[in-house]
Amino acid sequence: MSMATLMHYAPQVINLLAALLLLLAFAMLAQRRIQLLINLFAAQGLVLAASAALVGLVSGQHHLFVSAGITLVLKVVVLPLILHWLIRRLNVKWDVETLFNIPTTMLIGIVLVILAFNVAQPISLLAGTVARSTLGIALAAILLAFLMMITRSKAVPQVIGFLAMENGLFFAATSATYGIPMVVEFGVALDVLVGALILGIFIFQIRERFDSLDTRHLEKLKEQ
């Protein structure tokens, strides 16, 4: 495959990957089973890494390879493993309960996607990158992850939602801007890792104290 063909197909592939990301985001929104949710999260990470690598290849921003590597390690391997280990340890096998039913959530999700595309449109017009049209998708992925956090009442899916949001952010960074400077990226990655660890510890403690991971038990602190 020559460089030229690569250049020719790359934007299309990136778009494809973006679409895949969005699809995965929707899938996560609709997913009830927690193991599958983690797997979907890992898949999203994979897509992310691939797209980052591709963008890096196309644009010649080689530090994106490093980012792709970090993503691969962190989001495809380490975090899903931690999460799997967590649910095994906590013996969480139940289905994920949602606050709204799934179709409603999906419907809201579609509205969000439309909104995200609309918001991102003027920005995309300015983007000079190969992945110009993907910014909307990134934003949509962020919003969908946000929605997922809102609709899930258990602690673990909320954490996954949080991490998925991070995925969306990362995608935005790679697609729209060829990646943010390395220093920052390392910092972000570190924060995510530490954050995930702390969340993990917390989930243990909450489980220990409340005998449940349902955040609906965490409603003691409120105004009378």
Partner: protein, 487 residues
């Protein structure tokens, strides 16, 4: 400069190693003092020589942040002094384990480090990273007691701030995206000094969308209504020194980040957008500020927990400061900065007094704390004067800044002034009505085994009193310079 950041970082490491040994608290104080000394030297240098950048432009101090650096280092130091007896009593009461103390001391230094990093870094990305790190360290501090309530508070704090701050990252990326067009890709496009130079040519649409994300992101940390929900929980359930630094410093730091972003957005919008849009960022800040003041004022009267009440009071004051920065102009920004100073000094002093009071009473429920002035007059007076000060009674400095903000509001936004004033009136009724019986009347309190640390309380109040009656000229100049930077 390096000493400034190095001291707390080293402190964190050393204290993590030292653990819970008796000297840990003293070491904590010592490191905080070291930090303050470094901050003081830095401040002196900036006053003498103007803004400076260090380490390949990665760090940058101008009059705006050096003032916050000094404030942060000072309150950090006094809080460390306060926490020495406070945490010792907590340990005696068995509320916190030895390991907990190790975590507390090292995280305290770590937290100071992250805040100073936010303040001094020149890189918007690093600023975000440090802010997130500050969240992480404080989450651990809030959860220190491992009780139901503290876990719940910490969880909410983490999730809400984590999600919020993720939006800020997206906003930061958009800024980078806009800057890239002008500055080219690379680290330079996130350096504030560079961005500030080219802010007029940044894309206005992108910048305004970016500002929305940044506002939601950092606004969550500032505690603007309706993003404030984590704040009262976290303040009420964490150890009191942590509440003091959260209220007194972290909120300021987050607001600082927001203000830096606002400067860029304003620059882009003023030159690149038609009239109406130019004031976009200002309007948003004013709107959120006003909403926060009003809602927080009404929340105040429902409170039973003393720390929770003062947490809402922080929301109110942050709203006021945000409103001031939203109005803009030399006087309002000046007032906003002054209010930042006096609020953080007063509020931390209040938390110190409240901490001792609730230790005496064994509870944070206000109805169970009575007659402090009989059992321990100094703590009682500290709380009384602090409350009076925070409610904007002269001759304390909070009144000075509120006076400036309100008079500016009358001049620039006459519609908002009565709303603000009425909210302040409601807040006054709520807070004073609750604090008065805590301080006055017959006492139900016990004596504590350790002498409370009252130097922090009264040194803060003394400074606040001075600022109400007299602003030293160099301080005023300093504020003026910073206000000019904010615009």
């Amino acid at each position: 400069m390096l000493a400034l950041l190095g001291s707390p970082l080293a402190g964190a490491a050393v204290l993590a190693l030292v653990g819970h040994r008796d000297r840990a608290a003293e070491l904590n104080v010592a490191f905080s003092m070291l930090t303050f000394l470094a901050a003081a030297t830095l401040t002196a240098r900036v006053i003498a020589g103007g803004a400076l950048t260090v380490l390949d432009e990665q760090f940058f101090v101008d009059s705006l942040n050096v003032f916050l650096v000094a404030l942060t280092a000072f309150v950090g130091m006094t809080t460390a002094m306060f926490s020495r007896p406070y945490m010792r009593i907590e340990r005696d009461h068995g509320r916190v384990a030895a390991g907990g103390l190790r975590l507390y001391h090292s995280m305290y230094q770590m937290f100071t480090f992250t805040m100073l990093l936010v303040l001094t870094t020149n890189n918007l990305g690093i600023m975000w990273v440090a802010m997130e790190a500050a969240t992480l360290t404080t989450v651990l501090l809030v959860a220190l007691y491992r009780t139901h309530a503290s876990l719940e508070a910490a969880w909410k704090y983490f999730i809400l701030c984590g999600v919020g701050i993720a939006q800020a990252l997206f906003g930061t990326m958009l800024v980078y995206f806009a800057a890239e067009k002008v500055l080219g890709s690379g680290t330079g496009a996130l350096l504030w000094t560079h961005l500030d130079g080219v802010k007029a040519s940044l894309e206005p649409t992108v910048m305004s969308i970016a500002f929305v994300f940044l506002l939601v992101g950092y606004g969550t940390k500032v505690g603007l209504v309706p993003l404030h929900n984590w704040l009262p929980d976290a303040h009420a359930e964490g150890p009191t020194p942590v509440s003091a630094v959260l209220s007194g410093l972290l909120l300021n730091v987050a607001l600082y980040a927001l203000v830096r972003c606002k400067v860029l957005t304003d620059g882009a919008l003023v030159s690149g957008a038609p009239g109406e849009r130019a004031a976009f960022a200002s309007r948003l800040l004013m709107g959120f500020g006003l909403l926060s003041v009003v809602v927080a004022a009404f929340f105040l009267s429902r409170q039973r927990d003393v720390k929770r009440m003062f947490a809402y009071s922080s929301v109110e004051h942050m709203g006021l400061i945000t409103f001031a920065f939203g109005m803009g102009g030399p006087v309002a920004s000046f007032a906003g900065l002054l209010h930042m100073t006096v609020h953080s000094l007063t509020k931390s002093a209040i938390f110190f007094a409240v901490g001792h009071a609730s230790q005496k009473a064994g509870t944070q429920i206000m109805d169970d704390i009575r007659g402090l002035i009989r059992s321990n007059p100094t703590v009682g007076w500290g709380l009384m004067l602090g409350t009076v000060a925070i409610l904007g009674m002269p001759p304390f400095g909070v009144f000075a800044s509120e006076f400036l903000i309100l008079t500016q509001a009358i001049a620039l936004q006459p519609w908002a002034a009565p709303i603000l004033l009425l909210s302040l009136g409601v807040a006054f009724a709520a807070v004073f009505g609750k604090v008065q019986p805590m301080v006055f009347g017959d006492s139900n309190l016990i004596r504590l085994p350790h002498q409370p640390a009252l130097v922090p309380v009264f040194s803060h109040l003394a400074i606040v009193l001075m600022l109400g009656l007299w602003t030293p000229p160099y301080l005023a100049d300093w504020y003026r310079q910073a206000a000019r930077l904010i615009g």
